[in-house]
């Protein structure tokens, strides 16, 4: 839909034409203004039947102008639309005010207004029914997660395939202990408002439990102050749980700077000086991934990396010993815990994937068959499936 600003000049030329030369087109009919359902009272939907002169061949309609009258004030143009338009969505209304509309059909030099709609007030609603499919999907997925957590809690054994990167965690920590060198944990460079950082911290919690047992040194430089706070809490708790609160110190976690490369430069320096035996690179990484992974590799550390940022994965894959790809990062903390109820949540995730895969398979099949043989009921299945997964 196109709309361009109305300038004063256009109206002037319209007036300058003598009546006899005016091209008069039929007005639009059945203009309806309705409150847009399920919003905060900020939209009104307009629909109409286009002018009968609106044809591709020999049509005289050059477009439509939508006018709005707010209360008793003068009509104002709110949109100019291309020929063939039959609807408009006015998103610039305010709740509590009365609006009426009319639409003009434009010819090359004249415009024919339609009748005005009755005044209407935008309404505000409590539940966005248009999102009901999203709500149902979310509940199904959430329900599956909770169901499997409960199942596991009741003692049913759940199978989860091996994730190579996570199998190696214990060895990696053991290696650092044997070599007497520290472990470096890098939780990405984003703040606590990124779920990858949360995932990294939950993994940190699991890892430090083991580290506290082994009495190995862990060091965690961070680039966000909040992550520093949360990281300290996490490590402290793990040391307490392992019965060694005395071994914990705040110096294990330090803030460097929010700036990406200032942070990288500092971490690089730490790697070269401290020569950690094991490096964990888990969280949200950007351009720094390459430098960190390369430097870690060059000081001979075992590196376990994981991120949900596809652009950085090639560097981790090339320079690290194990890489958690995308979703595996989120599964890691549950997997590492080994607790049945945590494993249950992974099962729930799988239900989501199963639904997605089934929808893709069935959807593609029905769409293809429906279109190839033009079978109506099969086409309905496709539309239905699409609607379930669409947001509008």
């Amino acid at each position: 839909m196109l709309s361009f600003p109305v300038t004063g000049q256009v109206i002037d030329t319209v007036k300058a034409v003598p009546d006899s030369e005016l091209v008069v087109v039929a007005p639009v009919t059945s203009l309806i203004a309705a409150d847009h359902k399920y919003d905060d009272g900020k939209m009104i939907d307009l629909s109409w039947v286009p002018s009968i002169d609106d044809r591709l061949v020999e049509g005289n309609v050059m477009g439509y102008k939508v006018y709005r009258i707010e209360g008793d004030s003068e009509p104002e143009t709110i949109a100019e639309l291309a020929p063939g338009s039959n609807a408009y969505n006015d998103q610039s209304v305010e709740r509590g005010k009365l609006y009426s509309y009319f639409v003009s059909a434009l010819s090359s030099n004249a415009e024919t207004p339609s009748i005005r709609t009755a005044p209407i007030q935008p309404q505000r609603e409590w539940l966005n029914i248009e999102l009901i499919n999203v709500l149902i999907m979310a509940l199904v997925l959430g329900g599956a997660v909770i169901y499997f957590i409960e199942t596991a809690r009741r003692g049913k054994k759940l199978f989860v395939r091996k994730i190579a990167g996570l199998e190696a965690v214990d060895d990696a920590i053991g290696r650092a202990t044997e070599m007497g060198r520290p472990i470096l944990f890098i939780p990405g460079i984003l703040d606590m408002d990124d779920v990858q950082t949360l995932a990294a911290l939950t993994i940190l919690g699991r890892i430090t439990r083991v580290i506290a047992d082994y009495d190995t040194k862990i060091f965690m430089p961070v680039s966000r102050s909040l992550v520093m706070t949360a990281g300290r809490e996490t490590i402290k708790a793990s040391y307490q749980a392992a019965g060694r609160p005395d071994a914990y110190s705040d110096d294990m976690v330090t803030y460097i700077t929010d700036e990406q490369f200032g942070y990288v430069a500092a971490v690089d320096g730490i790697m070269v000086r401290e020569r950690p035996a094991t490096v964990f690179l888990l969280g949200a990484f950007f351009a720094e991934s390459l430098i960190l992974a390369e430097t870690g590799n060059s000081v001979g550390a075992i590196q376990i990396a994981g991120t949900a940022r596809p652009a950085q994965l090639p560097f981790f894959i090339a320079a690290c010993d194990f890489t958690l790809i995308g979703e595996e990062l989120f599964a890691a903390s549950a997997y590492l815990s080994g607790e049945p109820k945590q494993m249950g949540s992974l099962k729930g995730q799988d239900v989501g994937k199963a639904i997605a895969m089934a929808a893709i398979l069935i959807g593609v099949l029905t769409a293809t068959i429906g279109e190839a043989w033009n079978v109506e009921w099969i086409q309905h299945i496709t539309t239905g499936l699409r609607d379930i997964f669409s947001t509008r």
Partner: protein, 224 residues
């Protein structure tokens, strides 16, 4: 109490923000905006912790004359300079007529930003050009089929996205030249892979979020 209350807070906050997605009615439809402001404010407080920490460590290094104390001193000096100028310019801008922002062109803060901060960060970024090349030479090996595929895709994209690729394959019909291969990889193979990753990540995120809301993940508030 010290453990249960945070869990309850996380649970309630999570549930409210989940529900808010579906409710267009105030105050729920304002939550997203409010939270973004709150988070911004908390981050502004938290950086005091971070900055104090950085200064503390640097000061200790300088006072104890550790090996890199000059380095630490330089950190302190540059930190203090930009902070003082930033506060001064911001304050001056507020009371000027018309008011201006501390980062408008022409301010001392902007001068520092352009000539020092942004220069340094751009150059740091640019160093990656060299590291990428050395990694290509030393690390990217066709160890197995998977790695080979990675390298092949990179090969076609790197050559196909610059004119050189078409010069090399100039003898082929246009539809089979390198740039077309690159386009196909990006639009078809890359799209498929990215989609699988996106869907997987979204599901993993939902499950992680649920574990947090339900209190199964509690390490960040110091408990297990």
């Amino acid at each position: 109490m010290r453990r249960e209350l945070p869990l309850a807070i996380a649970f309630i906050a999570g549930v409210i923000f989940f529900i808010a997605y579906f409710i267009p009615h105030p105050p729920f439809n304002r939550f997203e905006n409010w939270f973004s402001d709150w988070f911004a404010i908390v981050a502004a407080f938290a950086i005091w912790l971070g900055a104090l920490n950085l200064m503390k460590i640097s000061f200790i290094k300088v006072i104890r004359k550790k090996s890199d104390w000059l380095h630490a001193l330089l950190i302190i000096i540059s930190f203090v300079i930009i902070v003082v100028i930033g506060f001064y310019e911001g304050y001056r801008g507020l009371h000027a007529n018309p008011p201006f922002s501390f980062r408008d062109p022409g301010t001392a803060f902007d001068w520092l930003y352009v000539n020092v901060y942004s220069t340094l960060s751009a150059t740091m970024f640019a160093l990656l050009a060299f590291f990428v090349a050395s990694a290509s030479y030393r690390a990217f090996r066709a160890r197995n089929l998977e790695a080979t595929l990675l390298l092949l895709a990179a090969f076609f994209v790197m050559l196909g996205r610059v004119p050189i690729g078409d010069v090399i394959t100039g003898w082929l019909p246009r539809a089979y030249q390198m740039s077309q291969w690159a386009s196909w990889i990006m639009n078809v193979l890359n799209t498929a892979g990215q989609r699988a990753i996106m869907i997987g990540i979204a599901l993993g995120l939902v499950s992680t979020s649920l574990r947090i809301i339900l209190g199964l993940e509690r390490s960040y508030i110091g408990g297990d």
